[in-house]
Each structure stands twice: as structure tokens, then as C-alpha cells.
């Protein structure tokens, strides 16, 4: 009983983490058909930014909540700036090129940014635990949970709702949907696709940085955290269906629950869970859970 409850809660927390890192990736892919490896860099920069922010406010001993907000804002600003620079400066050059080429452009960018981190923050690792520690914990059904984890789940849920709402009920959302559905037609109907691209990429970058920021208090911010995240996010997105936001949500939940179950019941399998699930889903549904293949008209 306790175990199944634990599996559920742990699964939710992990799913929240996965969803937060995956949503930006899937959004960018859905709209721009770019599998953005540099998403890992956004995550890393967000985390480093958050650590810096926490460092500042820990010394200035502000109230925790304010500090937390400051942390998010700083991280997202970094994401914003990176997004603009990358999209305007680099990706512009390769639009319309082969999907794989764009992937490699982002891969190269990722490699470069890895070392930019060393230049900016040095090789040592940073801590940003204050927000999580000051959040304290709560005991539910005999299981002690960290309030920060609960906050994390809340943030993920909020993101999901926000995404749903803005896609369904805002003008940008509609335009986005048309571009996702058929870029040419959308352009033909006068949708400013280039603008949509810029905006989308920036949003994706900000989301990536946000992911890093909210995770920073739980981890040691150190070199290489980006690499780990990329593959996780890829897997989640591939499971849910490239470019599908509800897919990312469901994918994150599946992986999260499976992993938690593995850790509690058969720890030996933990290493395989994500890729196992991914391979299985792709075998059954080659395009992921939420994307159907359109047969070609002849």
C-alpha cells in the first residue's frame, strides 16, 4: 500500500521534472521541425543562472519566496537572450535545410556552449539548495515528501494548462497550430511564419532554462548536466510523439511511473526503463503515442 502510494508520488515528481525539460523541446520540434540538442545547454545555463541567483540572494538574505522568484526570472532572462541570439544569429542560416543538418547545427552549438559554461562559471560545481531546504517537508500517509517536489509538480501542471490554454484560446496559439499542421498553407494564408519561428524558439529556450532553474536547488550544478537531460527529453518526446505537447505530458507520466516502479520493485531495471519504454512504444506506434502518420496521396 505504502509502496504503491510512494510509486505514484515519486512517479509524479519525476514526471514533472521530465515534462518541464521536454515541453520546450517538443514545442520547438512541432513548429520548426528542429530536434534541438542545444536544449541541454538552455537547461544547463538555466541551472547555472539559478545557482548564481541563489548565491546572490543567500548573501543578501531576502525572504525565500522572493529569492525563488528572482532565481526563476534570472534563469528565464538568460534563456530569452540565448534564444534570440541563437535563432537570429544561427538557425536563420539553416532553415529549409535537411532536418538532420539542423540537428547537427544545434549539436555543434551545444558543444560550444558546454565550454562557454567553463569560461563563464569555471569547472567547479555550484550549489543552490536554499529554496528546497527552506521549503521544508510534509508527511502524507506515512511518507515524508519534500514541499519543493510538490511545488515542482504544481509548476509542471501549470505549464501544461498554460500550454493547453494558449494553444486553444489565444491568437498566437491558433497561428501556431496552423503552422504545426501545414507550414506552406499557413504561409500562403499570410501567417508570418518567420515571426512564429522566432517567438517559438525563444519560448522553447525560456522553458529549457526554466527547467534548469527549478531543478538547480535539487542537484549540484556541475559540468555535463546538460548531456544527461538531452537524451531524457528526447526519449520522452519520442514516446509521446514529436511535437505533441499532450504527448510530452503522457510520455513523461509513463516514464516517471515506470521508473519509480522499477526503483521500488526491481531496482536492477532502472537503467533500462527509459530506453525500454521508448523502444517498445516506437515499435508499436512508430510516430509516438500522439502523432499519426499521414499516408501520401497519389
Amino acid at each position: 500500500m505504502l509502496t504503491s502510494f510512494a510509486i505514484l508520488t515519486d512517479g509524479l515528481v519525476y514526471a514533472a521534472y521530465l515534462f518541464i525539460v521536454a515541453i520546450g523541446l517538443t514545442l520547438i520540434f512541432g513548429v520548426m521541425k528542429i530536434l534541438n540538442v542545444a536544449h541541454g545547454s538552455f537547461y544547463a545555463f538555466g541551472a547555472y543562472g539559478a545557482a548564481t541567483a541563489v548565491g546572490i540572494y543567500a548573501n543578501a538574505d531576502w525572504p525565500a519566496a522572493l529569492g525563488f522568484l528572482f532565481m526563476l526570472v534570472l534563469a528565464m532572462t538568460i534563456g530569452l537572450v540565448m534564444g534570440i541570439i541563437l535563432e537570429r544569429g544561427l538557425l536563420r542560416q539553416v532553415y529549409g535545410k535537411d532536418e538532420v543538418i539542423t540537428v547537427l547545427v544545434t549539436y555543434a552549438t551545444f558543444l560550444i556552449l558546454e565550454d562557454v559554461i567553463v569560461l563563464l562559471w569555471g569547472p567547479q560545481s555550484y550549489a543552490a539548495y536554499q529554496p528546497m531546504v527552506s521549503a521544508g517537508n510534509i508527511e502524507i500517509g506515512g511518507l515524508v515528501l519534500s514541499n519543493y517536489d510538490i511545488l515542482l509538480v504544481a509548476i509542471a501542471a501549470a505549464l501544461a494548462l498554460l500550454a493547453y490554454w494558449s494553444l486553444k484560446f489565444t491568437r498566437y496559439g491558433w497561428l501556431l497550430t496552423t503552422v504545426i499542421f501545414d507550414r506552406e498553407t499557413a504561409a500562403a494564408f499570410g501567417v508570418n511564419v518567420t515571426l512564429i519561428y522566432t517567438v517559438t524558439f525563444i519560448i522553447g529556450a525560456v522553458l529549457g532554462a526554466l527547467g534548469g532553474a527549478v531543478m538547480a536547488p535539487k542537484i549540484a550544478v556541475t559540468l555535463g548536466i546538460g548531456v544527461e537531460v538531452i537524451v531524457l527529453a528526447f526519449a520522452v518526446v519520442a514516446i509521446g510523439g514529436m511535437g505533441s505537447i499532450e504527448g510530452a505530458l503522457v510520455g513523461a507520466l509513463i516514464v516517471g511511473i515506470c521508473r519509480a516502479a522499477a526503483v521500488h520493485l526491481v531496482p536492477q531495471l532502472e537503467l533500462f526503463v527509459i530506453y525500454g519504454v521508448m523502444a517498445l512504444v516506437l515499435v508499436v506506434r512508430p510516430y509516438g503515442l500522439f502523432v499519426r502518420a499521414q499516408p501520401r496521396k497519389i
Binding site: V100, V105, Y107, P123, M242, M278, A279, P286
Partner: protein
């Protein structure tokens, strides 16, 4: 490849063979590793021509390497030539198996599924503590048809072996590129329906390409295992695959020779970066890749093939 191309290739091969003893050992061993990896790259080129990119090619590299290491470890059998063949066959068999699955996938999904498969192999190897888990284990020094080279000449022997295998593969693959199956790459990328209505099963052609690239990957892994003298699960990690794709882009799909030139260039650049800026080598590699994509979209090979095209038009 035109007859002229073959001639040039042959000359390059002869030069590479003859020059080796004059080169310092470290360049020879660096070249050996590069030439072993070049086979994996060649396999990726075969796929890439059909618009397929594998982010999990390291799976074959790793299988080839482990096949060699384990044969030597369990049977004590150490003949280099046979071991290399074993590596290629083992990887080929696996490719033939998962090919049934992969042949149904295209674009990014092909890439992601192969990535997942290679990572599963990685997990299995990490779990196998009897094989040293992530520490891996060492590969016995090979013999060559019963003759065991002295440690000073071992490097050269391995270099020549690698060069030989490369030459054979280069000839076979350029023949393949001139065959119907090889020439079908662009058509499959362009329009699978037309290919089917011309009477060809796209699935089986793609499957064949997967197997060929698998065999090449296995041969590369086998040679790498013999050269490095050590195997570990990282050979199957996705970053290893990423490295190979990197080189493929650098080389370009324009010709067989490009794979070898590109791989050598990459090893040289990487080694330079490690030597000159030990903490910023990733940045150097990234910049090189970026510049290649932006200013040399068809890779180093395109320089060569441009010249060739012009000649063909003239003739």
C-alpha cells in the same frame, strides 16, 4: 567512382602503405584509430545517401569490438584477420535482426529508435560486472597468421591491417554505390512510392543498407578494439554515435574517399584541440562542425566531387 577515381584511390592507398614506416609512431597509431572509425563513417554514408541518419550506430561499433575481445578472452584465439571478420559478422547479424524493425522507420524516428537500441546494449554491458562493467577489459595482442609481431612493429602491423580492410571495403562499397541498390538511395529519399511502382521493395533495400552499415560498423569496432587494446560500454553510448555522425557531416556523402579523409581530418583536429587547449576542445570541435555545415554543406568530399562533376560533364 570513375575509373580515374579508382586510380587516385589506389595511389592514395599505396602512398598510405609506403609512408607509414617513415612516420613517427604516434601519427601511425592516430591514423590507425582514424582509419578504423572511417569504416563506421562509411556505413553512415551508406545510410545518409538514402536520407537516413542513425544516432545509434555505435551499437555495431561496440558489438564488433566486444565480439573480438570476447572471442580472444574465451577461446584464446588471437588471429587478427579472423577476429576482424568475426567482429564484422557479429555486427552484421545484429543489424540483420534489428533491420526488420528499423527498415520501417525514416527521418528522426529512425535516428531515435537506433539511439534507443544502442543505449539498451549500453545498459546491458554496464550491468555485466563479470566483464568489468564500465571499466571494460583489455584485448589480447593479436597474431597475424601465426606470426606475432614484436611490440615495436605491432603498431605498424595493425595499421597495415586496418588499411587493408579499409581498401577492401572502399572497393566493395564504391561497387555497391554503382549498383542498382546503391543508386536507389536518392530515389528512396525522394519518392518511395515511385520506387515501389518501379518494382522494388523499399523496405528490403533499406534493410540491406542497414546490414551493410552494420557490418562496416562492426569491422570498425573490431579494428578499434585491436588497436586500442581495450573495450568498454562507452563504445555503445549515444555520444559515441554522435561523434560518428559528426565525422560523417564533416566528410560528406559525396564519395567513398571522403569518409576516410574526413575521419583522418577529425582525429587530427581533435588531437590538436586536446594538445593546444585542453579545456576548450569541445568548443573547437563544435566550431569546426558549425563552419563545415555553413560553408561546406556537402562536407570535405564536395571539394573533390565538384572537380569530378566538371570532368564528367566535359567528357
Amino acid at each position: 567512382m570513375s575509373g580515374r577515381g579508382q586510380l587516385v584511390g589506389g595511389l592514395m592507398f599505396l602512398f598510405a602503405t609506403a609512408a607509414a614506416p617513415l612516420l613517427p609512431d604516434w601519427i601511425v597509431s592516430l591514423a590507425t584509430v582514424a582509419l578504423a572509425n572511417a569504416l563506421v563513417v562509411l556505413g553512415l554514408v551508406v545510410l545518409w545517401r538514402a536520407g537516413l541518419v542513425s544516432f545509434g550506430q555505435a551499437i555495431y561499433y561496440c558489438i564488433g569490438a566486444y565480439a573480438v575481445a570476447l572471442t580472444a578472452r574465451w577461446t584464446g584465439f588471437r588471429d587478427a584477420f579472423a577476429l576482424v571478420v568475426i567482429g564484422g559478422v557479429a555486427a552484421g547479424l545484429v543489424a540483420a535482426l534489428i533491420g526488420f524493425l528499423l527498415a520501417r522507420y525514416r527521418e528522426i524516428f529512425f535516428a531515435m529508435l537506433s539511439l534507443a537500441l544502442s543505449m539498451i546494449l549500453y545498459g546491458v554491458l554496464v550491468k555485466t560486472e563479470s566483464l568489468g562493467s564500465t571499466d571494460g577489459f583489455s584485448v589480447a595482442t593479436p597474431t597475424f597468421l601465426g606470426f606475432a609481431p614484436h611490440r615495436d612493429t605491432l603498431g605498424l602491423s595493425l595499421y597495415w591491417l586496418t588499411l587493408g580492410v579499409d581498401a577492401v571495403c572502399a572497393v566493395l562499397i564504391s561497387a555497391y554505390f554503382r549498383s542498382v541498390a546503391g543508386a536507389l538511395a536518392a530515389p528512396i529519399r525522394d519518392n518511395e512510392i515511385r520506387v515501389e511502382f518501379l518494382g522494388v521493395s523499399v523496405a528490403s533495400v533499406v534493410h540491406a543498407k542497414v546490414v551493410i552499415s552494420g557490418i562496416l560498423g562492426g569491422l570498425g569496432g573490431a579494428l578499434a578494439a585491436l588497436t586500442i587494446g581495450h573495450v568498454d560500454p562507452n563504445m555503445s553510448y549515444w555520444t559515441t554515435s554522435g561523434g560518428f555522425v559528426f565525422v560523417t557531416i564533416l566528410a560528406g556523402a559525396s564519395s567513398v574517399a571522403a569518409a576516410f579523409v574526413g575521419s583522418l581530418a577529425y582525429e587530427a583536429v581533435r588531437s590538436f584541440a586536446f594538445d593546444l587547449m585542453p579545456q576548450l576542445w569541445q568548443m573547437t570541435l563544435g566550431s569546426v562542425l558549425l563552419l563545415t555545415i555553413l560553408f561546406l554543406p556537402n562536407g570535405l568530399g564536395s571539394l573533390v566531387s565538384r572537380v569530378k562533376r566538371r570532368e564528367e560533364v566535359k567528357s
